[in-house]
């Protein structure tokens, strides 16, 4: 049985597809730069309490005697129109933007995966109806719709008045409305992957055993659809951070006094004569975050390209 001797020329099992992908990603300089910037931004944002403690600043307390302070001293970037430290508020704003981006991207991907896999697996009328809905959502004018959603009075939806005005409500409202409009890309990708995987004989092999739909979806379809999901999720995060910032900027997203890069710009807009720098910092941070996410996502896409992968 010569055939039964294992072929040792094939690389080791542990170095599966993921190792190859990581290798390819590492060779992509813009993508790695993007990743580095993202790591730095996370460190920057989440070190806010530490800096508050070190510098002895309470970023929430207004100090009307110290408005528009010049950079220097313990206020490294100066103070804003209410005398609050700009740098620390930028850090807290970063936390909000990153968290909204991540949470909404993941929940949109989850919803899209659920819809795409259902449509692809069950086919027929289920597929037709779900894909019509997807096409419908794609055709919607996103920004105006987001504004309508953001303007909804939660109390009219039966939420308690106490909850409706909390920072938590603002955060989750943004996550939910972005999820509602963002799931379509993933749904389409997952549906396509599902259809492709369903043609494979290993799925039939499981079906022969009478495997339940849940088993086939979890064991066979999802692992094969995970790379396009990750890529779409990453690229969506950039877009979501932009959406969050514009909604917060328009006063419909994260509400002051909670800092967000978007709502910091709302006030700065009125002060462009006195303090143009206040309008510069939050925007450049949004820009840097989104461009880093996009470069990283693009690199992931290239590294995950199935055309350069063994079957």
């Amino acid at each position: 049985m010569t055939d039964a001797v294992l072929d040792s020329s094939v690389p080791d099992a542990g170095r599966s597809v993921w190792a190859l992908r990581w290798q390819r990603l590492r060779g992509n300089r813009p993508a790695m730069a993007g990743l580095l910037v993202l790591v730095l931004l996370v460190a920057f944002s989440f070190s806010a309490p530490l800096w508050e403690w070190v510098l002895g600043i309470d970023s929430l307390r207004a100090d009307l005697f110290n408005r528009f302070a010049e950079p220097g001293g313990k206020h490294l970037l100066g103070t804003d129109e209410a005398g609050r430290d700009v740098l620390i508020r930028l850090m807290y704003g970063g936390q909000v933007s990153l968290m909204v981006g991540l949470t909404a991207a993941v929940s949109a991907a989850a919803l899209g995966t659920l819809i795409g896999i259902t449509a692809g697996y069950y086919g027929g009328m289920v597929d037709k109806v779900l894909m019509r809905i997807t096409d419908g959502v794609i055709a919607l004018p996103l920004l105006p719709l987001l504004i309508v959603f953001a303007a909804i009075d939660l109390r009219k939806l039966g939420f308690g008045g106490d909850f409706a005005v909390t920072p938590d409500a603002a955060f989750w409202r943004i996550v939910v409305i972005i999820t509602i409009v963002q799931w379509t890309t993933v749904a389409r990708l997952v549906r396509a992957s599902t259809l492709a995987v369903l043609q494979r004989e290993y799925v039939m092999a499981a079906q022969v055993q009478g495997a339940p739909a849940r088993h086939i979806m979890l064991v066979h379809i999802l692992p094969n659809a995970i790379s396009p999901i990750i890529v779409a999720c990453t690229l969506a995060m950039g877009q979501i951070i932009l959406f969050e910032s514009v909604l917060s900027f328009l006063g419909l997203g994260i509400q002051p006094p909670t800092a967000s890069w978007g709502n910091m710009l709302t006030n700065a807009q009125e002060m462009i004569q006195q303090a143009p720098a206040l309008a510069f910092y939050p925007g450049i941070l949004i820009f840097v975050t989104v461009i880093a996410v996009n470069f990283f996502g693009d690199g992931l896409q290239e590294a995950f390209d199935p055309r350069s992968e063994p079957r």
Partner: protein
């Protein structure tokens, strides 16, 4: 072909109907209530007056009935009165739409021209310095927050350099003349162009790269077809197919996507109208504009699909 067109049109109308119902329901969930607002602005209103007005406006009937009533009027092109201006909503929208068309149209043309040029250059000079630079700017274009971009332009060109006006549509008090209006248009058009050039460029580049990789281009190159002719005759035409589709799709979103730009520069276009009417509880206005924007997007989708079929002879529509 006709059958395809008809079925697509029917589908679009269905989507529009569903959307109208959803938006109608959503708008009812926004804060405030038109009668309450009236009552608040007029201290002589009594509770009985409020009830009477509710009945008068049909607000005491169930939601679905109100929706059907609205739909019936809407089908007769009666979209009700704008609460802010006390004029028919349609008469308010028309000039705004016209303004947006000029603004978005100009920006669209500029963006397409820029993107096609940059995208083709990047694809032809693949993996060179020029490609990287163009690529970086394209990424910057899709990553920059539009409102911040507008803010920066205002700070630089209006506040610091004082070359151009910061916002508005014409100099108040001055005679209305072309050059005056044009000066007010410069910054909004630049903002909107920047917002769309990045995505278009990336799309053109990748489509072009894809085509250049094809065998028939290699064959043409090997046969000694001059590069310039090859690019125009062979590559560009095929690369354009998906690009045109994406651009047609984007034009639909451009009309409502101008919302931020218009708001930032206080331009009374469709986007700002939608924004203002939502914030000011002008339900009739908001509903009509949103549906109009949806209809335009759907129409652009349809046009995009038709473009695709028309440009690509391999796809034949049943």
């Amino acid at each position: 072909m006709t059958r395809y067109l008809v079925s697509r049109l029917i589908e679009s109308v269905l989507v529009l109907l569903v959307m109208s119902a959803i938006i109608y329901g959503l708008i009812g969930l926004m804060p405030g209530d038109p009668i309450d607002l009236m009552a608040a602005s007029n201290p002589t209103f009594t509770a009985a007056d409020v009830e009477r007005l509710r009945a008068l406006y049909g607000l005491d009937t169930p939601l679905w009935q109100r929706y059907l009533n609205w739909l019936w009027s809407a089908l007769h092109l009666d979209f009700g009165y704008s609460r802010q201006t006390q004029t028919p909503a349609l008469t308010v929208m028309m000039p705004a739409l016209q303004h947006t068309l000029v603004l978005a149209g100009l920006a669209f043309l500029l963006a397409v021209t820029l993107a096609l040029t940059l995208g083709v250059i990047a694809a032809l000079k693949q993996r060179t310095g020029i490609d990287s630079v163009i690529n970086f700017f394209a990424f910057a274009g899709i990553s920059v927050p539009v409102f911040w971009c507008a803010l920066m332009l205002i700070i630089v060109f209006a506040v610091q350099l004082k070359w151009l006006p910061a916002s508005g549509m014409y100099t108040i008090g001055a005679p209305r003349e072309f050059w005056d209006t044009a000066r007010y248009m410069v910054l909004p058009v630049i903002t909107l162009t920047l917002a769309y050039t990045g995505g278009f460029t990336r799309y053109t580049r990748s489509s072009m790269v894809e085509v250049l990789r094809m065998d028939y281009i290699r064959t043409a190159r090997a046969k000694g077809v001059p590069p310039r002719r090859m690019v125009i005759r062979h590559a560009l035409r095929n690369a354009l197919i998906p690009v045109v589709t994406v651009m047609a799709l984007s034009f639909g979103t451009l009309l409502s996507g101008a919302l931020i730009t218009e708001t930032m520069f206080a331009q009374r276009g469709l986007g700002k109208l939608i924004y203002d009417s939502i914030l000011n509880n002008d339900y009739n206005m908001a509903l009509m504009c949103l549906l109009f924007a949806t209809a335009v997007t759907l129409l652009c989708n349809l046009v995009a699909d038709l473009c695709y079929a028309w440009l690509d002879p391999r796809i034949s529509i049943r």
